[in-house]
């Protein structure tokens, strides 16, 4: 197994929700990210996957727990002490329309992270490096002085990727990077992310609600439900033999692009998502789980398992 790049230990994050209540966005999450791998993070909206991504790269401060970069705590560092490490942890955003400053040219946009980490000594060197990055992500060099509004969504996302890789990071958190794109363009971006990883060797934390995208790009997957990881393991194991009932429901719910496989005994999840302000006691899924017992309502199941596959369930599926 390769080196542990980033580790989270018992991370929690709550946000104030008024009247002394708090939203439990992430609760007691521990995970490890290895150098060079892609870890997929899936779950439905509001399950805390974006918050977890931001906690891991220190864009949000945790309420409890630790984040370690190459074995060294980064969550308790001062801004000044953390600054030299910032370039190792980068982010690609979901919305390529909102995440680029409309008043900056492509050159300025891509040069900004280079300046921040003082990578290039001169103006000429900066321009040269920007052009190399444009080549790497597939934006034509002649567009150096264009503005974001002159590009399509896919091209903008390429510019966002160039910004993220400019500082040669060790980890890139990709937060729904292809959700806003059409399917033909989405595949172009996924191919690009894979090529860049193969040639530059960084790790991805790939956050998405689209299970087929996660299956394609991830080496390992974490499934989140209401702020907790309910199952984690190698991608194919999770998709072929899900052990947590929630994972099973999630996979079954995806509409198959095959009219021959219509109406295959899809079992629908009943009820509503519980509130993250008042998460249920015990297993957070027990209010919707058809297999729930009395134990599930009182005891919080812990992640356990052999090797890489772990599931947090008292009655995992066989």
């Amino acid at each position: 197994m390769s080196e542990v790049l980033l580790e989270a230990r018992h991370l929690s994050k709550t946000f104030p929700a008024g009247r002394n209540r708090r939203v439990h966005a992430v609760s007691d999450v521990s995970l490890r990210l290895f150098a060079g791998e892609t870890l997929g993070l899936v779950g439905e909206s509001g399950c805390g996957k974006s918050t977890l991504g931001r906690l891991l790269i220190r864009l949000t401060a945790p309420s409890a727990g630790e984040v370690l970069l190459r074995g060294e705590r980064i969550d308790d560092l001062s801004e000044a002490a953390f600054a030299p490490r910032r370039r190792q942890l980068q982010l690609i955003f979901q919305d390529p329309y909102a995440s680029l400053n409309p008043r900056m040219t492509v050159r300025e946009l891509i040069a900004e992270p280079l300046k921040t980490c003082r990578a290039c000594p001169t103006r000429e060197a900066t321009t040269q490096r920007v052009l190399e990055l444009m080549d790497a992500v597939g934006v034509a060099r002649e567009f150096l002085y264009r503005y974001p509004h002159q590009f399509s969504g896919g091209q903008r996302q390429r510019i966002g990727i160039a910004r993220a890789i400019a500082a040669e990071p060790a980890l890139i958190v990709c937060d729904e990077p292809v959700s806003a794109l059409d399917v033909s363009v989405q595949n172009q971006i996924l191919n690009l992310l894979r090529e860049l990883q193969a040639s530059r060797g960084f790790s991805y934390l790939f956050i998405s609600h689209d299970l087929s995208v996660v299956r394609h790009i991830s080496d390992r997957v974490c499934v989140m439900f209401l702020g907790r990881i309910c199952e984690t393991g190698p991608t194919e194991a999770i998709f072929r033999r899900p052990r947590h009932p929630y994972t099973r429901f999630l996979l079954d719910a995806v509409p198959q692009p095959d009219p021959h496989r219509r109406g295959e005994s899809v079992r629908l999840l009943s009820g509503e998502l519980p509130s993250a302000v008042n998460p249920p006691d015990g297993c957070r899924f027990h209010t919707r789980c058809p297999y729930a017992t009395r134990q599930c309502a009182s005891d919080e199941p812990q992640l356990h398992g052999e090797g890489e596959s772990c599931v947090a369930c008292h009655h995992p599926l066989e």
């Binding site: 439905e44 896919g154 399917v183 299970l211 087929s212 509409p255 692009p257 095959d258 899809v266």
Partner: protein, 325 residues
């Protein structure tokens, strides 16, 4: 011949701009037979939502309908005055939208909003309208309907809001429901619930025109499918035929893009290039710039939408060669 709930013939719609008219919908003809679910699939900007709005008579200025006929239950409604068009909306045809939050009034209880739709079309008392609204909430699977009717939209989850929208659309029992990306904003587990609800509505006699970019949703729900590209229909077929024997290179590209994602493997299939600017469409086939099979004729001459097998049409010079290869 089976009765048609909706028959749109040669629809054209455009947006005038300083650089000329954007022809967002170009000679689009769509049939929705009674009791069936018909899909329109395409990527963003292909004109599928504009087609739906044209049929509903809900064009937003400066976009406008520039031609075509719309036959609803055997009557051409395209040239009816606005007052009469308005009377049809809700009672004979309804539409649901992608984002249920922005389509509901945030300062009005959801039950009242549905009751309002009832009172617009039926001469009934407030109490009766409220009663029908609650009844409809139950019909679309909202549990605890009476108390949910007293909620404001922000108190409901996305799935419940979409059910409220569907209840509002269906409360006057229209024959035709137009659903524009009804599940795109929803999580997959909620999406599955809404798709099942739409299937049940269809089984109960409502004809549905479903607009989606999601081929999974189309495959699961539709009987017949139209594929749109750059404002035109490029292929139409029964759902099984379309997925098994796509004839247009664009349809094949879309299907390959989706299936390669599911197949695994290193590289994903893509469609080269990007959607063309509607103001600067290529001279011949709109897809010619992105097409691997493009020949000299394709760059010069726009292909007709022509029948290549019974019930299967494609807008491609090379359709026969491609379909069975």
């Amino acid at each position: 011949m089976e009765p048609m709930t909706l028959r749109a013939v040669g629809l054209c719609a455009g947006i005038p701009t300083q650089k000329g008219e954007i022809r967002a919908v170009n000679d689009v003809s769509i049939d929705v037979p009674a009791g069936s679910i018909v899909g329109i699939v395409g990527e963003s900007g292909c004109g599928k939502s504009m087609t739906a709005r044209a049929i509903m008579g809900l064009m937003r200025s400066p976009a406008r309908m520039t031609g075509g006929e719309i036959w609803l239950n055997g009557r051409d409604i395209a040239r009816l005055p606005e007052r009469q068009r308005r009377a049809l909306r809700g009672s004979e045809m309804s539409m649901i939208f992608q984002e249920p939050m922005t389509s509901l009034n945030p300062v009005m209880k959801v039950g009242r909003q549905v009751a309002e739709a009832v009172r617009l079309h039926a001469n009934v008392s407030r109490q009766e309208a409220d009663r029908r609204a609650v009844e409809m909430f139950e019909a679309v699977g909202i549990s605890d309907a009476a108390s949910r009717a007293r909620c404001y939209p922000h108190q409901l989850s996305g799935g419940l809001r979409q059910r409220v929208m569907i209840a509002m659309a269906m409360v006057c029992r229209p024959k035709l429901l137009i659903a524009d990306e009804p599940t795109t904003a929803l999580d997959v587990t909620v999406e599955a619930q809404i798709l099942r609800l739409m299937r049940n509505l269809c089984d109960a006699g409502t004809s549905i025109l479903l607009i989606s970019h999601n081929l999974g949703v189309i495959a699961q729900l539709c009987d017949y499918v139209y594929v749109m590209y750059a404002g035109r229909i490029v292929e139409q077929a029964g759902v099984i035929k379309l997925f098994d024997h796509p004839a247009h290179p664009y349809t094949r590209g879309l299907l390959n893009a989706v299936s390669s994602l599911r197949r695994g493997g290193e590289r994903l299939d893509t469609i080269n290039g990007v959607v063309p600017n509607l103001l600067r469409l290529p001279e011949g086939c709109s897809f010619s710039l992105r097409c691997d099979a493009c020949e000299a004729r394709c760059a010069q001459e726009m292909p007709e939408l022509r029948e290549i097998a019974p019930g299967h049409k494609a807008r491609c010079h090379l359709a026969e060669r491609e379909a069975w290869s």
